[in-house]
């Protein structure tokens, strides 16, 4: 079975370590905040200028001056700090954020990522995605393994305009967890009940299948 959105978020959260500063993109990455283990401290960075983002506010706590990068009203945890956009991207560009999780349209086995623009459709912009992929060392891309029509999104070469070049080392899809090394996808884990063959059939870029590919455990 392909992973649900919640399972994807849960698997992302398994990458968290105590004391990590983490930037979570919009969508499934944001859901991962719901699965931070109780015995672990993780500080969420929101690139509009907040370190220590808390949950959505209660109805009476809503503050127009306190939003996240998706323009949603949020709260701050104890120990939070506020800074300018320039400072925010200095900490991103300077490699101070321990883990970045974001979505994509396509990833290829050279570590390229395309996530912001589909030619012919309206271009809304890259927001902070280009800075995040260029600045972070530890990035997880979350996406579905294939399109609804069954076309692989894990390619030998991205077809869409790039968000970043050679910067992705780990991809989590609804079917598999993969690393990217030496121009190849390396299959590390598979979703429960999903076969290696199924993953191989839906992976267009070169895939290395180790002898033992464990199922993800939740």
């Amino acid at each position: 079975m392909a992973l649900t959105r919640d399972q994807l978020a849960q698997r992302v959260a398994q990458e968290f370590e105590d004391g990590y500063y983490v930037n979570l993109g919009i969508g499934i990455p944001t859901l991962a905040a719901n699965f931070i283990p109780d015995d672990m401290e993780v500080m969420l960075q929101s690139e509009n200028g907040l370190l220590g983002m808390g949950p959505f506010p209660l109805d009476g706590e809503v503050d127009a001056d306190l939003i996240n990068a998706g323009k949603q009203t949020v709260t701050m945890v104890e120990g939070a700090s506020i800074f300018s956009s320039a400072e925010s991207f200095a900490m991103i560009r300077g490699g101070h954020v321990d883990l970045t999780v974001l979505g994509a349209f396509e990833v290829d086995c050279q570590g390229n990522i395309a996530s912001y623009m589909i030619p012919g459709k309206l271009i809304k912009g890259m927001g902070g995605a280009m800075d995040l992929v260029a600045g972070a060392d530890n990035i997880i891309v979350t996406m579905t393994h294939a399109s609804k029509s069954g076309a692989s999104k894990l390619l030998s070469e991205c077809t869409l305009p790039l968000t970043g070049k050679g910067c992705i080392k780990r991809v989590l899809t609804d079917l598999a967890l993969m690393d990217i090394e030496g121009g190849k996808f390396i299959l590390r884990e598979r979703a429960p009940g999903v076969s290696v063959e199924e993953i191989a059939n839906l992976t267009s870029g070169e895939l290395v299948i180790p002898d033992n590919v464990p199922e993800m455990a939740f």
Partner: protein, 233 residues
């Protein structure tokens, strides 16, 4: 106005000298921390042909979206413009130009513009459409592109609290692009919620010194929320 006193009493005076075809650097992220009354004054003045650097372009009927109604903007320099139907229409018809700039690069362009740094190298955008035509250099085995600083004829920004010298404090994530935007304009105009007497702000708690601010005005703010998200108790 005298000495270091930056306070002006009307929005007309605050934007005196703003003319057609000028470049404006604006603070704000989405509708958070935008100089909403200064934008309304630009609309009232009917200034046209403007180039505006701002992370976003407002929404329909709010923020910079107001200036699209009368086609006052010629070009936007932004990282994300997907929240505005009028923007899309004018972009498609060619009446409006947009230079999409990664968010961190945009912030750094403003910071550099205000700090006398003409250009800087960044890995952001290398090998992407953003890097096309830009100088590439390799440092320690990594590729970087050269991005030029941004400066404007005017800066417009919003802060929370100021003293009469224009020493500023911002509130929560309404800080965002505001401090950097202020430094990047030849004439920096800041609207605030409260102006206090000189000496009332603790110098250690000032976020941006008044040296960057030319005109200061007290306003009242709607603070429109784009995505009101709440949790249940």
């Amino acid at each position: 106005m005298s000495g270091f006193d930056k306070v002006v009493t009307s929005y007309e005076e605050a934007l005196k000298g703003l003319e057609d075809n000028m470049t404006i650097i604006s603070g704000g992220f989405g509708l958070c921390g935008i100089p909403e009354n200064l934008i309304k004054e630009i609309k009232r003045r009917g200034t046209k042909g403007l180039t505006i650097a701002s992370n976003n372009a407002g929404t329909d009927g709010h923020g910079l979206g107001l200036l699209l109604e009368d086609k006052q903007i010629k070009k936007m320099i932004s990282s994300y413009v997907g929240e505005n139907a009028l923007f899309e229409a004018q972009l498609m018809s060619g009446e409006l130009e947009v230079e999409l700039t990664p968010q961190g690069t945009l912030a750094e362009k403003m910071r550099a513009g205000g700090a006398g740094i003409p250009a800087f190298y960044t890995a952001t955008g290398y090998g992407t459409p953003v890097g096309e035509g830009k100088e590439v250099r390799e440092f320690d085995g990594r590729h970087y592109i050269l991005e030029e600083a941004l400066s404007g004829d005017f800066s417009i920004a919003k802060a929370w609290k100021a003293d009469r010298h224009g020493n500023l404090m911002f509130r929560k994530t309404a800080r965002n692009f505001n401090p950097s935007a202020i430094t990047a304009g030849k004439i920096a105009v800041v609207e605030v919620e409260e102006i206090v007497e000189v000496g009332e702000l603790d110098p250690d708690e000032i976020h941006l010194p008044g040296i960057y601010v030319n005109r200061l005005i007290k306003g009242t703010f709607e603070k429109t929320i784009e995505q009101r998200t709440v949790r249940s108790a």
